[in-house]
């Protein structure tokens, strides 16, 4: 009937507009400049609060101490903590935070400079730090002042899930937000190389959407796996450290400032049997070989130095024959190698097929096939828009029937 042409035309128009909006214009501009590595930065984020998440704060503080010991100064570390452990009413050892039940090391001693504390640790602030878009009044100590020769270490710990990370129990950081922030950082040349370490459940999904070159990422577990805490401190009453971070710290205890182990030895030192999860890392966006990259490229602070030949002025008459001397940290050999089961599981739907054949109940079978189909859908935005557009004719039908 001709009366229905008008709604159909409207539906068509809306579909057109919808498809235009979902087509995102993404162009990656990659400048391969051979800039010198000038400094190292670290952004350490603990995304949990409340007493039972003690271990996350201990994780972050332990890594903070390691990174400071290896040479990165406070002015180049951005530490984001909820900071409600040390002076918590439930803390038997006030003003002390431990990461081991032997209580040998007090992480919260002197010289801990927290840049974002308490309720300032939000997704918005984290993204602002990464992208550099602060209000004018934000002080320099709260900004990531990296340049195009900087290597940045981003460490995040807390509770996470499939493609998200929970911030302070109230909001989420999605993997595409993180990927978008890294893309903008790369376009604005805010880093030369970036290492992302994530210690949460299903950590590897958080960096699954990254596309920018020069990024290295390691997560403590794969999709569908949990990351576990290492041990419970019966005196304090909660778990005090996570496994992934515990073994990372154990690796760095063996290093000092002059020493040089490579990144591949760090990544290979994770034993899945001890971690109870698979530590997955992605190197497809990183050009250099991991055996050649010393750990101090990200975790330490080796300055590039050039000797000054002579003064300028009255002393300029005396000449020195020696030329410029550039110092760069050269990588030496590796530690003993351990075989890491690094299953490159990218396809996610295969595990469901096995379950299908075993279950005879038809309801669960149909449910799982639907689930499989939905997983395979690539263009989620289009599907959502299609659903929304479908509302209009349904509404038309119902109002026609009701009139």
């Amino acid at each position: 009937m001709e009366s229905f042409n008008f709604p159909k035309a409207v539906a068509f128009l809306v579909v057109l507009i919808a498809t235009n909006l979902t087509g995102a214009i993404s162009s990656t501009v990659s400048h391969s400049t051979a800039t010198m590595h000038t400094n190292n930065w670290a952004v350490l984020v603990c995304t949990s609060r409340f007493w039972f998440n003690y271990r996350h704060m201990a994780n972050t503080l332990s890594l903070y101490r390691t990174v400071k010991r290896l040479g990165i100064p406070d002015e180049r570390i951005i530490l984001m903590l909820a900071d409600d452990m040390a002076c918590n009413a439930r803390n038997k050892y006030p003003a002390q935070v431990f990461n081991n039940e032997n209580h040998r090391l007090n992480l919260y001693g002197d010289n801990v400079e927290v840049d974002y504390r308490g309720y300032e640790v939000t997704v918005e602030n984290f993204l602002r730090v990464l992208m550099g878009r602060h209000e004018n009044a934000v002080p320099r100590s709260k900004r990531l002042l990296s340049d195009e020769g900087s290597h940045i270490l981003v460490y995040m710990t807390g509770h996470g899930g499939d493609e998200f990370l929970k911030f302070q129990d109230s909001e989420e950081l999605q993997s595409h937000d993180l990927a978008d922030a890294v893309k903008q950082m790369k376009e604005k040349r805010r880093f030369k190389e970036l290492l992302i370490m994530v210690d949460t459940c299903q950590a590897a999904t958080l960096f699954s959407q990254l596309h920018s070159p020069g990024v290295l990422a390691i997560g403590s577990s794969l999709k569908g796996e949990n990351s576990y805490s290492h041990h419970l401190d019966s005196d304090v009453g909660v778990s005090v450290v996570d496994r992934f971070t515990f073994y990372t710290l154990a690796f760095f205890e063996r290093l000092n400032m002059y020493n040089n182990a490579s990144l591949s030895s760090l990544f290979n030192s994770y034993n899945p049997n001890l971690l109870l999860s698979t530590a997955y890392y992605r190197t497809d966006l990183y050009q250099r070989r991991l055996e050649e990259v010393p750990v101090t490229n990200f975790f330490g602070s080796v300055m590039e130095t050039i000797h000054t030949d002579s003064a300028y002025g009255a002393l300029s008459g005396k000449q020195l024959k020696s030329g410029e001397i550039k110092m760069s940290s050269d990588s030496s050999g590796e530690d003993r190698q351990r075989i890491l089961e690094n299953s490159d599981v990218k396809d996610q739907g295969s595990s469901l097929n096995i379950k299908d054949q075993q279950v005879t109940c038809p309801f669960t079978r149909t449910l799982s096939t639907i689930h499989e189909r939905v997983e395979k859908v690539k263009d989620v935005d289009g599907l959502v828009n299609f659903g929304l557009v479908l509302v209009i004719p349904l509404l038309a039908v119902s109002s026609w029937l009701s009139s």
Partner: protein, 583 residues
């Protein structure tokens, strides 16, 4: 009986026309249009209100000139910015060659040599179409000058004299003086825009080579091998500011405590340098004195040299960032660059402390730089050198002479941080040239080189920043763009155009200033705090908010209109059928 009487007129009405009027297909009266007009008016009011509704939910986006940004980026990236340069050679005291044709020949041979020295594809910031002019002067130029090499400050005097005599039209000049009595040929580059070669010149080929090399290697490339621009030697912040932070570090104040009179040394030595760098950057100066700041690398006692020695391998670990709280600047804004200059006074356990170079010699300056960070100089206090002096922690002040020496090293380090050499010699294929030191830290021609390179770098950054901004804005069509961003982009584009104009005219200082403005405005626009992608409206959000209000009502209105229209058409058809049939 009324019923019967009522029934009768009805029957009487119907009886004359028993089967002609079928209410399904005909009607006698015109169909009424009231209902149709009513529904149409409601629909019409909805339609009138629709643009107002769309306007009220519109995302406010300031219009950015995307086409201009794209054309600017393309222009900057495809054509490197080249400046026009003019070179001038003056030959004094050459009696053999005093005709205009030989002058032209010389000019032509210099030009062709220079062409060979320039790279095939010109680098950004170097010279484009350059011209070489030659003047043959038969010893009239240097008449007012007392030529005696043995005098002190001979070079400086000659430099000043030439500056007063040569015309100041921005040309780079080489004056060749042929003196029969002097054996050795020296080449010296002055503090302004001229250089000279003097001595007994016999070989014309060699001379032309030398002149061409001075023109290209020194005046165009700044004394470096090739004139390419490295990002790590551009220490100017994104807002065009640099803060020089001078720190005096007492490693162990229990041994001795040193202070300095920074104010006086700033007025004497630093102010001219700050003034000289004005077109490149807005320079701020700060100073502080720190105590209990040991270094984190190790040194060992060398018996032969009777001093503590640290080598160049220890340099990367020298700066102890845990104890040296250098970054406490209050003057530096968020996007400025801070360069740290540190005077390190060792403790008595490590005194005197010297830097040993790989070839075994001791460094004359005891200092080093780290690009984009700053420089360190180790100064051994005099109290250390006479051990007999009492070790009371008295407050000493650094003498002005010592401070001058240290600050001269700092000037050299500042030059290194900007990509120039700290020493004053340039070695090229045909020999060594001496560079005269300027009290402003940078000679005029060096400032020209830096201005050109900074113009180039700033414009490139501006172009890429604006390009990234336009890509970002276009990829998020529902993000709010405030007016301020639009204005900043507009001004940045204007400054960039001004820079290109200035560059084509060859005004180095003005082009550096406008390029700095263009870059800082572009960075302000890109880093505007309102552009956070987490806070924009997605289409689904908008649809979900407004559709429950408008969708059901509008559908009912539409359907009502359609129904009324259909009914009107039907009744109209019936009426027309009756009209055609009857009468």
């Amino acid at each position: 009986m009324a019923e019967i009487s009522e029934a009768q007129p009805k029957e009487s009405d119907e009886t004359p026309q028993p089967s002609n009027l079928d209410p399904e297909t005909m009607r006698k009266t015109k169909p009424g249009v009231k209902r149709l007009i009513l529904t149409l008016s409601v629909l019409f009011s909805f339609l009138i209100g629709l643009p107002f509704l769309l306007k009220s939910v519109e995302i406010y986006r300031s219009q950015l000139p995307f086409r201009d940004i794209d054309s600017l980026s393309a222009a900057i990236e495809s054509n490197p910015i080249l400046f026009p340069c003019h070179f001038h050679a003056v030959f004094v005291n050459f009696p053999a060659a005093s005709s205009s044709s030989s002058g032209n020949q010389l000019g032509f041979s210099i030009y062709s040599r220079m062409q060979k020295l320039f790279p095939k594809t010109p680098l950004c910031g170097t010279c484009s179409n350059y011209s070489v002019s030659v003047t043959l002067d038969s010893s009239g130029l240097l008449d007012g000058f007392k030529y005696d090499r043995n005098l002190d400050n001979f070079d400086e005097n000659l430099d000043e004299y030439l500056e007063s005599v040569l015309s100041k039209d921005g040309k780079y000049t080489v004056v060749v003086v042929n003196r029969e009595d002097v054996e050795e040929v020296r080449a010296v580059v002055g503090k302004f825009r001229h250089a000279w070669i003097e001595g007994r010149i016999e070989n014309a080929e060699e001379l032309v080579e030398r002149i061409a090399e001075i023109f290209v290697k020194v005046f165009v490339n700044g004394g470096k091998e090739e004139g390419s621009i490295h990002g790590e030697f551009m220490p100017v912040g994104a807002d065009g500011r640099v803060v020089l932070s001078f720190n005096l570090l007492n490693a162990d104040p229990r041994d001795w405590v040193y202070d300095w009179d920074f104010q006086s040394i700033e007025e004497i030595l630093l102010a001219p340098i700050v003034e000289a760098l004005r077109p490149l950057a807005d320079v701020g100066v700060e100073s502080q004195v720190l105590y209990h700041t040991p270094k984190s690398s190790f040194s060992y006692w060398d018996e032969k040299l009777t001093s503590h020695v640290f080598s160049t391998k220890d340099l990367p670990f020298f700066v102890n960032s845990n104890e040296w709280h250098l970054d406490t600047s209050t003057a530096a804004g968020g996007r400025s660059k801070v360069l740290q200059f540190v005077v390190y006074i060792p403790s008595s356990r490590e005194c005197p402390l010297f830097l040993q170079l790989p070839n075994g010699e001791l460094s004359l300056t005891n200092g080093f730089i780290s690009p984009m960070w700053g420089g360190v100089v180790v100064w051994n206090p005099p109290a250390c050198l006479n051990i007999s002096e009492s070790t009371h922690p008295l407050r000493h002040t650094m003498s002005l002479k010592d401070m001058k020496k240290v600050f001269e090293i700092f000037t050299g380090q500042l030059r290194q941080l900007f990509g120039l050499k700290s020493d004053s010699m340039v070695t090229s294929a045909s020999g060594m040239s001496i560079l005269l030191a300027s009290e402003r830290g940078f000679a005029k021609w060096e400032r020209d080189v830096l201005s050109r390179q900074h113009t180039c770098f700033n414009l490139l950054q501006c172009g890429t920043t604006l390009g990234s901004l336009s890509r970002l804005v276009q990829s998020l069509p529902r993000m709010i763009i405030m007016d301020e961003i639009g204005k900043q982009v507009k001004f940045s584009l204007e400054a960039a155009k001004l820079t290109l104009t200035n560059a084509s005219l060859g005004i180095y200082d003005a082009s550096a200033v406008s390029s700095r403005q263009a870059r800082s405005l572009a960075e302000d626009a890109f880093y505007h705090p309102s552009m956070m992608s987490v806070s924009y409206y997605s289409f689904e959000h908008c649809f979900a908010v407004y559709s429950p209000f408008f969708l059901p009502v509008s559908l009912h209105v539409l359907l009502a209109v359609l129904r009324e229209w259909k009914r009107y058409k039907q009744e109209q058809k019936k009426y027309l059928a009756w009209k055609n049939k009857g009468i």
